[in-house]
């Protein structure tokens, strides 16, 4: 998919760009309001990642303009402000999602993919990874077409993994994905650790390969690469 990232911090911009490009997307960048306006006017994008505070304008105005011109692009707001007003307003004027800085790139990736799936496939698209098949809208995971019996959180974990395949997912990123911002506690890491073991067992029972690699105590990687 084609993504435009509008963000004034060049370093941040490069990080997002390279992360999304590695996911196989075409990713373009706009470091200012003006540059964003120019690009949106010329090229079609599937997804816009918009920072609200830009040196020469407000990201919310870009969203308004996009919606006014009926450009069919998914929109994710990224903001350091974490202001409820901004969030509500952003979603009201047509943004699809809102992320507060600092966010995990894996989380941004997951959100972008979810929006894309909803927009292009009406959410009905299955996600495949070798023998694994995920139906996000019905929260089902199949191994060799056998339904896995998973808890809600186990589903969330494997879904998050498959969306961010080949990526290092830290415990913190997983915890935030599972519970959001406010339920962060030491127990959640222990919980993730135990459930990773359960997940491995359940996948192995249905004849699936073990794709979950522990990266020391930092986190996990879901990959079939060596």
């Amino acid at each position: 998919m084609k993504i435009l990232v509008i963000e004034d911090n060049i370093e941040m911009l490069q990080d997002i760009k390279s992360f999304l490009q590695e996911e196989g997307n075409i990713c373009e960048i706009a470091p200012s309001y003006k540059a964003a306006q120019d690009k949106i006017g010329i090229f079609p994008y599937d997804i816009l990642v918009v920072d609200i505070t830009l040196p020469d304008g407000n990201g919310l105005d870009i969203i308004k303009a996009v919606k006014k011109e009926n450009i069919d692009a998914g929109i994710v707001i990224i903001s350091a402000k974490n202001a409820v007003g901004d969030k509500v307003l952003g979603l009201e004027i047509g943004a699809d999602d809102y992320l507060t800085k600092p966010f995990y790139l894996a989380e941004l990736n997951a959100r972008i993919k979810a929006i894309y799936r909803r927009k292009v496939y009406n959410g009905s698209k299955e996600i495949h990874f070798n023998e694994i098949k995920i139906k996000p809208d019905s929260y089902e995971v199949f191994i060799h077409n056998h339904l896995l019996n998973l808890t809600k959180k186990e589903f969330d974990i494997i879904h998050f993994f498959v969306v961010n395949r080949h990526r290092l997912l830290t415990k913190e990123a997983i915890a935030e994905h599972l519970w959001g911002d406010h339920i962060e506690m030491a127990d959640s890491y222990k919980f993730i650790y135990t459930h990773m073991a359960n997940l491995r067992k359940k996948i192995a029972q249905k004849g699936g390969k073990d794709y979950i690699q522990s990266i020391y105590s930092v986190g996990y990687k879901f990959t079939d690469r060596e």
């Binding site: 941040m12 409820v84 959180k153 830290t170 135990t194 459930h195 990266i215």
Partner: protein
């Protein structure tokens, strides 16, 4: 003691001291005046009698004549005034008189003529004085009291209005304070000083707030970049174990910093009253949602959860309500021991959560302060309860904590205004 009482008391003390002085001074003054009047009358009478004796040689009739006796050879200095008491049969008592004795001659016979005039009785005089002075004093007190009262209520009116405005003043409020003007110079001066002071405090507070917010905000983007870079480093394959360990520690500290920043932003946003929406929030639903969201962790810790939830709705911001109850329940889960219990009670006016845990050594009054942590949770920031407390302040909820050995109870009393 308020000002009017203080003033009135001072007036009363002054009048109480003045009262006997007034009586004594008046007594002598009046006595002197009466005596000299009487003497004048007697002298006038003496002149009249002497005139008639010289012209006609007979003693004229006189109301003041006391007696006439032949002159003896006593060594009296004549004429002379005297005070005497004379018995009056009609009154059946001694009455004070002023007498004037002078020498003259009737029919060539030298005589001593004495004139008399009745005087005020001393007792009567003192009584009279006491009565009049008391009356004056009483009227003075009454007058002063009412004048004071009037002055107090009228002239001090702007002062009291301003006082109540200042009592309600909160440095976080957005609207400026307008103090009532007054015609009294001192009050005007006070107003000027207070207004300047408030402006200064407000400015300082604003600066401090902006500084906090800026710091919290501005660190987030650099932190995000650092974090992404660290993840990139962690992903690279050729790191030895030592390097990995360092990177991991770095990563965790970045996360901690970022969370502190986010929590402080949240606190300052609660203080700024950014969560202004008032909506009907079903507390029982919120609690059920939180419990279901934490279900796995609760099961994971083998906690036995019991709930008694009544249907309760309060009027507040949904996000804040969610944070409030999440923090309290999370706290009870986090500080619980493996296989412990957790009891949640929700009634019309109260939410109560009791959990087993370690015997914490943190003082109860310090519990709600920022960056205070119990011994068990090294990972926690110690900001959760500070946030909880802030939310309670906003809505006027009362949050109590009781520790009974290893049993911890938080009780939240809803403000009756918010219950719907």
């Amino acid at each position: 003691m308020n000002l009017v009482k203080k003033t009135n008391t001072n007036y009363l003390i002054f009048l109480a001291l003045l009262f006997p002085i007034m009586v004594i001074v008046d007594y002598f003054l009046i006595q002197y005046i009466v005596n000299s009047e009487v003497e004048e009358i007697l002298l006038h009478e003496q002149q009249r009698i002497t005139f008639h004796l010289d012209e006609e040689g007979i003693l004229p009739t006189s109301n003041y004549l006391f007696h006439t006796v032949p002159m003896d050879e006593s060594l009296e200095h004549l004429p002379e005034f005297r005070d005497t008491l004379l018995y009056e049969g009609y009154a059946n008592k001694q009455i004070p008189y002023r007498t004037y004795t002078f020498s003259s001659s009737i029919d060539s016979q030298p005589v001593k003529i004495t004139l008399k005039h009745v005087l005020l009785e001393i007792n009567e005089l003192i009584w009279l004085l006491f009565l009049t002075t008391s009356l004056i004093t009483f009227l003075l007190v009454l007058g002063l009291y009412f004048i004071n009262q009037k002055v107090y209520t009228r002239a001090w009116q702007p002062f009291f209005e301003n006082l109540s405005k200042l009592k309600n003043y909160d440095v976080t409020q957005k609207d400026p304070v307008y103090l009532d003007g007054s015609q009294i110079k001192e009050f005007e001066e006070l107003n000027t000083v207070i207004t300047t002071l408030i402006d200064q405090v407000k400015k300082d507070f604003q600066n401090l707030k902006e500084f906090n917010e800026n710091i919290s905000h501005e660190i987030q983007t650099p932190l995000a970049i650092i974090r992404n870079k660290v993840v990139l480093l962690l992903e690279s394959k050729n790191l030895d174990e030592n390097e990995l360990k360092n990177l991991e520690a770095l990563y965790q500290q970045i996360n901690k910093l970022s969370k502190i920043g986010k929590s402080l932003i949240l606190i300052s946003r609660i203080e700024n009253q950014e969560f202004k929406r008032l909506e009907r929030v079903d507390v029982h639903t919120i609690i059920a949602n939180i419990l279901s969201n934490m279900e796995e962790i609760i099961n994971f810790k083998n906690l036995k959860v019991s709930t008694e939830l009544q249907t309760v709705s309060i009027e507040c911001d949904h996000i804040l309500a969610d944070i409030l109850f999440t923090n309290l329940i999370k706290n009870a889960v986090q500080h619980n021991k493996d296989g412990g219990t957790l009891h949640i009670l929700l009634t019309e006016g109260k939410f109560e959560i009791t959990n087993t845990g370690e015997v914490s050594d943190i003082a109860t009054e310090k519990l709600f302060q920022r960056f205070q942590k119990g011994s068990s949770a090294k990972e926690s920031l110690g900001l959760g309860l500070a946030i909880t407390q802030k939310i309670c302040e906003i809505y006027g909820f009362q949050l109590d904590y009781v520790r009974n050995e290893a049993l911890h109870t938080f009780s939240l009393f809803f403000n009756s205004d918010t219950i719907t």
